[in-house]
């Protein structure tokens, strides 16, 4: 298949940036989206142009490194990561717009690469538990109800790719933050820091310049891991509880 791509090109953080059109010919429909970009980059390199910078690592859909906005949708038309999106999801002759995640808290570094270290700082502000060192405790000493374990695991599958922020019309990082709060808040190990976690993470989230949640639901719809929307309501419940106890 032959396609046309319009890619956001931006030399560095200070450059204004613009959309540039390229043609890519003989694309196999079995190629992943990133492989198509690899082919395009080889073309650009051969013709002496600067290849398009984009983030990627495992290409198996589990690391969270890749992610671009394709035709206005974070990770494109399928509910998966960009690396697991295949060209068969597009039609022959399609014009595909590729842009970086857009958010005040995710400044563009180059082309399609954005700086997502704001997420790391949110995790540092409370996304952890204090565990004693030494040998592992007897697992059966700490029973966890199956339902809680399942919900916690579902939230723990968040790979921190940032699609929720890119899809959210408000540039809010609430689904990411809520996933970690739900994951740890449902497990017994997460209880000691439950109140300080939600307050610390929300304060950091706001400090980084992420927007406020207005419950649109685009985050959940774009999430390659399908983190459910009720995590946000659970975050709010934890926050109200912590505030009621005067923990702020």
């Amino acid at each position: 298949m032959n396609i046309t791509v319009r890619v956001w090109r931006q030399k560095n953080a200070d450059d204004k940036g613009k959309m540039v059109t390229y043609g890519v010919e003989n694309v196999s429909e079995h190629m992943s989206f990133l492989e198509m970009l690899d082919v395009l980059n080889e073309q650009l390199t051969l013709s002496g142009d600067d290849p398009i910078a984009f983030d990627h690592d495992c290409r198996e859909g589990i690391c969270g490194a890749c992610g671009v906005v394709i035709n206005g949708q974070a990770h494109g038309p399928q509910t998966t990561t960009t690396c697991q999106l295949h060209m068969r999801s597009f039609e022959d002759g399609a014009v595909i717009d590729i842009e970086p995640w857009r958010a005040g808290a995710f400044p563009v570094v180059k082309d399609l690469v954005v700086d997502r270290s704001a997420f790391d700082r949110i995790i540092q502000a409370g996304g952890f538990i204090s565990a004693p060192t030494g040998s592992a405790p007897e697992a059966n000493n700490l029973p966890v109800p199956k339902e809680d374990a399942d919900h916690a695991f579902e939230s723990a599958t968040c790979i921190g790719c940032g699609a929720c922020v890119a899809a959210c019309p408000n540039g809010s990082g609430m689904l990411f933050t809520a996933a970690k709060i739900t994951h740890l808040g449902l497990l017994p190990q997460g209880q000691p820091e439950r109140d300080s976690r939600v307050i610390g993470m929300i304060e950091q989230h706001d400090h980084e310049g992420f927007g406020g949640c207005t419950n649109i639901g685009e985050c959940t719809a774009s999430c390659p891991k399908g983190i459910p929307l009720d995590t946000i309501s659970r975050l709010n419940r934890d926050l109200l509880g912590a505030l009621a106890k005067g923990k702020a």
């Binding site: 717009d97 857009r102 719809a221 309501s233």
Partner: protein, 218 residues
């Protein structure tokens, strides 16, 4: 946003129910409205309850609008706009599943604010009376809603109320930590919100539609 919104929603429910007294005829309707002045009398002074209600509602409205403007400004920066648009592409402007109600909260809210200001101005005794002033409030209602443009303006305002509530009630409960559904669509509260929106918008519209289309009260 959530708490102030729910306060106003509570008022709307009572207000919509009260409006249906119109169908009991001029005497019952006018005496009902006069009776409102003496809620909890003599424990509260004449119009005491109404003034408490007015202060609470205006307070809720001010908080609601202030919060909306703060959120709007903050989110505009957070969304990382490039010039006037966020994404350059012209495809999928409404994302994956955004409902019409959810992305018209802001502009719909402005329509609502203008509607509320106009509506309250009409409630001042014989100050703004399209269709003709009268000492009977029942007659003023009938006079006003016999004009097509008054009915049209109220219809626009009330449809805006409906859309605002369809997303707003759902959103408020989610903000208060009461939503247990995995997606926007699967939520049981979604059905309740839409039901509530139809009930309130529809309930209010019965009176102007009955007057304009079926000649009620004339």
């Amino acid at each position: 946003m959530a708490v102030s919104g729910l306060i106003m929603l509570g008022y709307l429910l009572v207000h919509a129910y009260g409006n249906l007294k119109f169908f009991q005829g001029p005497e019952k309707f006018d005496s009902y409205l006069e009776g409102l002045d003496d809620i909890l009398y003599p424990y509260l002074p004449h119009e005491g309850a109404l003034w408490i209600l007015r202060v609470v509602l205006v307070g809720a409205l001010v908080v609601h609008v202030y919060a909306a403007i703060t959120l709007w400004r903050r989110n505009k920066v957070a969304a990382g706009y490039v010039g006037n648009t966020r994404y350059q592409t012209k495809q999928n402007k409404t994302g994956y599943q955004r409902s019409y109600a959810s992305f018209t909260m802001r502009w719909g809210g402005i329509i609502l604010l203008l509607f509320i200001i106009g509506h309250v101005a009409q409630m001042l005794p014989n100050w703004l009376s399209p269709g003709g002033a009268s000492d009977s409030k029942y007659e003023r209602v009938v006079n006003g809603f016999e004009l097509w443009w008054v009915v049209l303006l109220y219809t626009i305002g009330l449809v805006a109320v409906g859309f605002h509530l369809a997303h707003g009630f759902w959103s408020a409960l989610t903000t208060l930590g009461q939503n247990h559904s995995s997606t926007r669509r699967s939520s049981r509260i979604t059905a309740v919100s839409i039901g509530l929106a139809v009930l309130i918008a529809g309930g209010f519209l019965t009176v102007p539609f009955a007057i304009f289309f079926f000649g009620a009260g004339s």
